[in-house]
Symmetry: C2
Subunit: 121 residues, 2 copies
């Protein structure tokens, strides 16, 4: 049975080029037998950011707490606790944290359309 709390998750630094002050833990993913999508727990410290990039799969994001912005469709929008953000495939995006930092869930599909494993799932 998988019941895991985000406060006890082993957060690992996101090593991807263009990321700063960002850590992540996969809460449910391929290794748990998740067949379709993976739920990741992400923290960005104040002043940090996720990579500014685009890829061929979507994100669904839930802002748990904190404050910051998301770059989407070429403009930065503020985000706050309780916001749900849909980042379609091939859309450039970046999350930045301010204030006390930003905590969010970021869900990705387990498989790309071509059948390959989605990175980080």
């Amino acid at each position: 049975m998988v019941i895991r709390n985000i406060e006890e998750a082993p957060m690992e630094p996101v090593q991807m080029a263009g990321a700063e002050g960002t850590t992540m833990a996969v809460m449910v993913g391929r290794e748990d037998g998740a067949p379709n999508f993976s739920l990741r727990n992400i923290r960005v410290e104040a002043g940090g950011y996720t990579p500014r990039h685009a890829h061929d799969y979507e994100h669904e994001v839930f802002i748990i707490s904190g404050e910051g912005t998301v770059l989407l469709e070429g403009s930065e929008q503020p985000v706050r606790a309780g916001d749900v953000v849909f980042v379609p495939a091939d859309e450039e995006h970046q999350f930045k944290a301010s204030g006390a930092g930003l905590r969010f869930l970021c869900l990705v599909p387990v498989h790309r359309n071509c059948g390959e494993e989605t990175p980080g799932s």
Copy 2:
């Protein structure tokens, strides 16, 4: 661009047999063009519950706030804010709310393995 806050979502009663005191809003789903999975916002009032059932697709759940239990693998486990729960396909499950009620995200795939639309996605 889809940025929606759970506090402003139009919650609709869950009419499914066996549900009590439960409302839901699809925050991102098929109607938004989500290709793989759907993010739903669920509230269960104190004393309420979701249906006790099983189905041929999985849930990934994030407890936002409140208190209650999840029935999984035949036993009831307490859940609390920050918990992530994986409910595999074909596993009987039920969420019950106590105290001030329970708020959670419940994600489902958009398509069943057979290619049919997943209900409520």
